[in-house]
Each structure stands twice: as C-alpha cells, then as structure tokens.
C-alpha cells in the first residue's frame, strides 16, 4: 500500500526519445500542503516529467513516485492522484456527464460524484452537451472535474491556465490554494512564471530537462537584489560619497544615471544630500521574477547564454512582455550569470542534497537583502 503522505518524489529521472534527451537526471520532491510550480520554457521536459510521474511515459532511468509508489502500484490511482494534462482527450460526441460517468465507474465512485464535480468546476449547465462543442476553457474545467472524481490527495496539472480567461485563471488560483490548504499536494506546470507566481509556494525550474532551481519561491524573491537608479548632478561626487558609506557596487547606467546595488532610494537620497549633490531623478527598481526565471532558463535555444549583460540592452528581455525591463547588470565576477546556481552542482552529477532540501535552495550565491520591500505587497 502507498504511504498516504501525498508526497511526489522524483529521483534521477531521465527520458530519451530516440536520440533526444527530453529529461536529464531530474530530482525534486513535492510536499503536501503546498502548491509547487513546475516551470520551464516550452520543450524543457515538463510534460514528459509529469507524464512519467503519472506512469504514462516509462522513464529511461530513475524513478517517480507518489506516496512512495510508482503510479501502477497505487491500487486505485485516481483516488490518490488526479491530473489535468495538456492534450487530454474527450470523445467529441460524448456528453460531459457521460464522460464523467465512464470514469466514475472505472474509479468505483457513485454517480452522484459526477454531479458534485460538475458543480465544483461550474459546468452543471453544460453537463449534457457534447464535449466536442466545448471551448478550450470548458475542456480544461471538464478535465479538472475528471481529475477530482476520485477525490484525490494529489493534483497534477500541466499548463492548466491555457485557454482559460482571466476570470477562469483567478478561479483556478483560488481553487488550487484551497486544495493545498486542506493539506493536499498540488504540482502545477507552466512556461510563464507570472501566470502561477501568485499561486505557488515552492518552485522547480527546469531547462534542457535539468533542474535549474528548486526551493521556496520566497527565497527566490529575496535573492533579488534591488537597485537604485539615480541621476545626480555630479556622478563622481556621488560615487565618492557612496563609497565612503561602503556602498561600492555602482555602475554607470543609461542617461547619465548611476545604478547602485544593495541600497535603498532613501539611503542614496540621504547620502547625496550630505554630499551636496543634487538629485534630478531617483528610482528604486527590483528585477522582476520573470526576468530571473528567464535568466535561469535562457540559453535553451541559443548557442551561448548571455554572460555579461548591459543594463538597458538585455538581449532576452522581451520574455514576459517587458522589453528592456530593468534588470540589474551582473557585475563581472559575480556568480549571477546564465547559470546562477552553478555552485549548486551540475545536474548531471546528481542532486547533491536530494530529499533533504525541499524548503531551501541548497546554495545561495545571491546576497539577501531584507530591505526588499517592493515584493512584500505581492503576497
């Protein structure tokens, strides 16, 4: 029997399709009571990984277990794990209610459950319509209803926001949060961090089928270093004054401005006042999570990942819809590059602290900044 923990464990999972390696030595754990985001660009291996967890794809190497067992040993798997997968089929001529009745019979739950889940996803009205006439959003709801039939402990969703309107996405967000609050497990994949950012607690970021980051989303947020953009009357004087206050990470930015790391607008303003430098513009900026996500996963389709980016001309910035979005330039020599967690062990070498670090990234090359207030309001 399975252990009833609600834990998903992926250990050294690999999958090759012919000569293409879709997933390479992936390891992570998803704990109950939380919503875990499974992020990566399209083609990073998310869907393949989820399908290996669900026993639909046989791993080339490694194991994926739910409640300590592979999917085909769970007994009545739909009572343990429900899933909403991309590309999931419905017979176009079968009504939503009949579709659910088929699988209610397979799982062994009473037909009453069909009406319950139709209500839960807001499809009661459309229950007797053919699934072939459903919109993408309705199909997603029907897929979710199917996943919920067995009242599972674990929910796995692959790009569930696809096809949902903003209202649907907001609804799904609330639904997943409530589900996790009941002590259940949610693993949700997306290629857009922004899409799931407000829903998830924990995040697994993969690229090229390898783990790039695995830990709490808050830790990732806190790892962001705020930067202050300042337009002073005298750059040299302000730089000198800042250095006297031991603020030394200063770089020229566009428009005659200076980019100052690890400080706050207030502190820069105070120092400038004491130094007698006039300030014509002062702005506190936080690199957004989407950009960091892009950094972590960039290079998948480019030969050489951007190693040294100039502020204001970030090559890949359009990702996330903010072209030229402010992003702190990685000072040469810092570990902040395309592979920011390089110290964390090459994924090929295996997960160094596998299973032991579900809550914190194994290593934090970033400087933490408690003054990072801008993000507090997000949650």
């Amino acid at each position: 029997m399975h252990d009833g923990s609600g834990r998903i464990e992926v250990r050294q999972l690999s999958k090759n399709f012919g000569s293409v390696q879709a997933v390479a030595n992936l390891s992570f754990t998803v704990e109950p009571g939380s919503v875990t985001g499974f992020l990566g660009p399209n083609g990073a291996g998310k869907t393949t990984t989820l399908r290996m967890i669900l026993g639909l794809v046989t791993p080339s190497e490694g194991t994926a277990t739910i409640n300590g067992l592979p999917h085909d040993k769970l007994g009545n798997p739909a009572r343990v794990v429900g899933s909403v997968l991309e590309n999931e089929g419905f017979h176009p001529k079968r009504t939503a209610r009949n579709h659910l009745k088929v699988y209610a019979a397979a799982i062994g739950v009473p037909d009453q459950r069909v009406d319950d889940v139709l209500t839960a996803v807001g499809l009661t009205e459309a229950g007797d319509r053919h699934a072939g006439g459903f919109s993408l959003g309705m199909r997603q709801r029907l897929a979710l209803a199917t996943a919920l039939l067995g009242d599972p402990q674990v929910l796995v969703l692959d790009e569930p926001a696809n096809g949902l309107d903003p209202e649907g996405i907001a609804w799904l967000r609330g639904f997943l949060r409530d589900f996790a609050k009941q002590g259940r497990t949610v693993l949700v994949s997306s290629h857009l961090l922004a899409e799931v950012e407000q829903t998830i607690d924990q995040v697994v970021i993969i690229s090229h089928g390898q783990t790039m980051y695995y830990g709490q989303l808050d830790d990732l947020r806190n790892a962001q270093r705020p930067r202050v953009l300042v337009l002073p009357s005298d750059q040299n004087a302000l730089t000198r004054a800042l250095r006297e206050e031991r603020i030394s990470e200063i770089e020229p930015a566009d428009g005659g401005r200076l980019a100052v790391m690890n400080t706050s607008a207030r502190q820069v303003g105070d120092i400038a006042l004491r130094a007698g430098v006039a300030i014509y513009g002062l702005e506190e900026r936080h690199a957004d999570l989407e950009n960091l996500f892009f950094q972590l996963t960039s290079g998948q389709y480019t030969a050489a990942p951007p190693q040294h980016q100039q502020y204001g001309q970030e090559p890949g910035a359009p990702y996330g819809g903010q072209p030229g979005a402010p992003y702190q330039a990685p000072p040469p020599g810092t570990p902040y590059g395309a592979q920011p967690y390089s110290g964390y062990g090459s994924p090929q070498d295996g997960w160094p602290q596998q299973g032991a670090v579900p809550t914190h990234p194994p290593q934090q090359p970033y400087q933490q900044d408690e003054g990072n207030t801008g993000w507090g309001g997000q949650r």
């Binding site: 026993g55 639909l56 007994g75 899933s83 590309n87 079968r94 088929v102 699988y103 019979a105 397979a106």
Partner: protein, 300 residues
C-alpha cells in the same frame, strides 16, 4: 476488474458507434442472405446437374441448401464486429482518451483485460444479432422452403458467434498495433474485403480445391469455421440420402464437399475444428501483440 468492465460498457453505450455499425451489419447480413436465397434457383440447378446428385438420384428438396446462405451472410457481416473491435483501442489512442483510461485503472494490464472481456461480449452480441438478421433474410428470401434443421442452424449459429467474437478480438489487436483509427479501418477493410478473399481464391486455385495455405490464413480459417459446418451438413445429408446407391464413390462425395465448401465460402479450409483452432490462434496472436504494444506505449 468489474468496475473497469462497467466503465468500458458505459464508454461504448454513450456514443453511437456500436449501433451505427450494428445496424449496417444487420442490413448487410439480412440483405446478403435474402439476395443469395433469391438466386437459390440458379445455384441449386447447377448442383442438381452435378454427377453426384444425378447418380445418387437426390432430390434438391431434401437438401437444406439455405445453410450456405447463412454462412455466407455471417462471413460478410463479420467485417463489422471486426471494425468495432478495431476501434476499441485505436480510437482511444486517436482521441487521447486513453490517457484518462490509464490514469483511472490500477494498471494497464487490468484495463486491457477489461477491454478484452468487454469486446468479447460485444462480439457475441454482434454475432447473435447478425445470425438473427441472416436467418430472417433467408426465411424471407426462400419463402420458408429448404430451411435447415434446428441442430444444423444451431451449430452454424454457434460457429458464427464464435467467429464474430474472434474477429472482434483480432480487430482490437490490429487497432492497438496500428494506433490510428483511420489506419486501422483501412487495413482491416482492405484485408477483409480484398486481400483475404482474393488470396483464398488464388491459393485454392493452385491447390485445385484441396485444403491449403488459404485455410491457414485468418480469413480462410474464419470462413472454414463457419463454412465447414454447412459443407459437412450438406455432405452428410447427401450421404444419408444416397444410402444404397453404390455408385457414389468417396471421391465424388469429396468433390461435392469441396463444391459445397466453395458455395459456403470456406475455400481450402481444414474442417471445422482445425479451422476454429487456427482462427483462434490468429485472433489471440493479434490480440496479444496489440496488448503488448499498448502495454509498452508511451502516452505523450
């Protein structure tokens, strides 16, 4: 397992394929049997001119020729349970509903086992319906003359139901191997309507009517399963009628049996039990290959 079989029945009954194919199967079986009955005169006349009949002094009225129409109608109508079985797994793969089917079953073997049982039952349902339609067609076509005895009808009907069950499972296996509904339908139709019958004719032509390789192929074996009963029944009746006529040699009787087998559509077959065993082996081979393929298939 019971839960999964119930689910499979719900799957089948909640869409229209089962009765769409069933109605066509009934029409084809009934029409084919009725049409053949109406050309009975021509066929009967030809047979009555044969040396056996003449020498034996047989009266056509004493021979239950209509059994031949029954087997012919069954043989043609088995196309439909075969297609029905062919779409069992292929359409689930094509429409991706197989994903949810796998996710709600304890494991793949259980699901495939449940499918096998469910479709065997449906093969029998098709078989019984086809026999009823063909019988009705014969009764209408012959106006009630030359009907077979109940025991002959029953044994032919039993062979027909078994044939439908095995065709369904064979189709299921082929569909699971191919994995695409359109491809499956094309392959099954081309084999069932063209390659199978033509290869039977060609091989039998080379063998000059003797049991041959055609009877060892799926189509030939299946036709042998249904046709042998009819051919044997006719031969038995002739033998019984011809008792005391010394001039009916065993050679001639054998020749007549071949003619009857040809008429019944069981070209080059090896007799009832051998045909049944051969066709059963074919059906199980494809069924097993299909299940094995589905067992190992990555659902992406």
């Amino acid at each position: 397992m019971g839960k999964l079989i119930k689910a499979e029945f719900r799957k089948i009954l909640s869409t229209k394929l089962w009765w769409g194919l069933l109605i066509i199967a009934l029409l084809v079986a009934g029409a084919w049997a009725g049409m053949l009955s109406s050309v009975f005169d021509g066929l009967a006349e030809e047979l009555s001119r044969s040396e056996v009949m003449r020498l034996a002094g047989l009266q056509l009225d004493e021979i239950s020729f209509s059994v031949v129409f029954l087997t012919r109608a069954i043989n043609i109508a088995t196309i439909f349970p075969m297609l029905f079985g062919g779409l069992a797994i292929a359409s689930e793969l094509g429409r991706k509903t197989i994903t949810t089917s796998f996710l709600t079953a304890p494991n793949r073997s259980m699901l495939l086992g449940a499918k096998g049982i469910t479709y065997a039952i449906w093969g029998a349902i098709y078989g019984i319906a086809i026999i009823c339609a063909a019988t009705l067609g014969i009764v209408i076509g012959t106006g009630g003359d030359h009907l077979v005895s109940f025991t002959t009808w029953l044994s032919t009907a039993a062979a027909g139901v078994l044939s439908c069950v095995l065709w369904t499972l064979l189709g299921l296996g082929v569909g699971a191997l191919i994995g695409s509904p359109v491809g499956t339908v094309i392959v099954l139709l081309v084999y069932g309507l063209a390659i199978g019958p033509i290869s039977d004719l060609v091989f039998t032509g080379f063998a000059e009517g003797d049991a041959n390789v055609a009877g060892a192929l799926p189509n030939g074996a299946a036709n042998g399963l249904t046709g042998s009963t009819a051919a044997d029944t006719l031969a038995d009746e002739i033998q019984a009628n011809a008792t005391g006529v010394s001039s009916v040699s065993s050679d001639l009787l054998e020749g007549f049996q071949d003619t009857a087998r040809l008429a019944a559509g069981g070209l080059g077959s090896f007799g009832l039990l051998a045909s049944a065993a051969i066709f059963f082996a074919w059906a199980m081979l494809f069924f097993a290959l299909g299940l094995w393929r589905t067992q190992s298939r990555d659902i992406t």
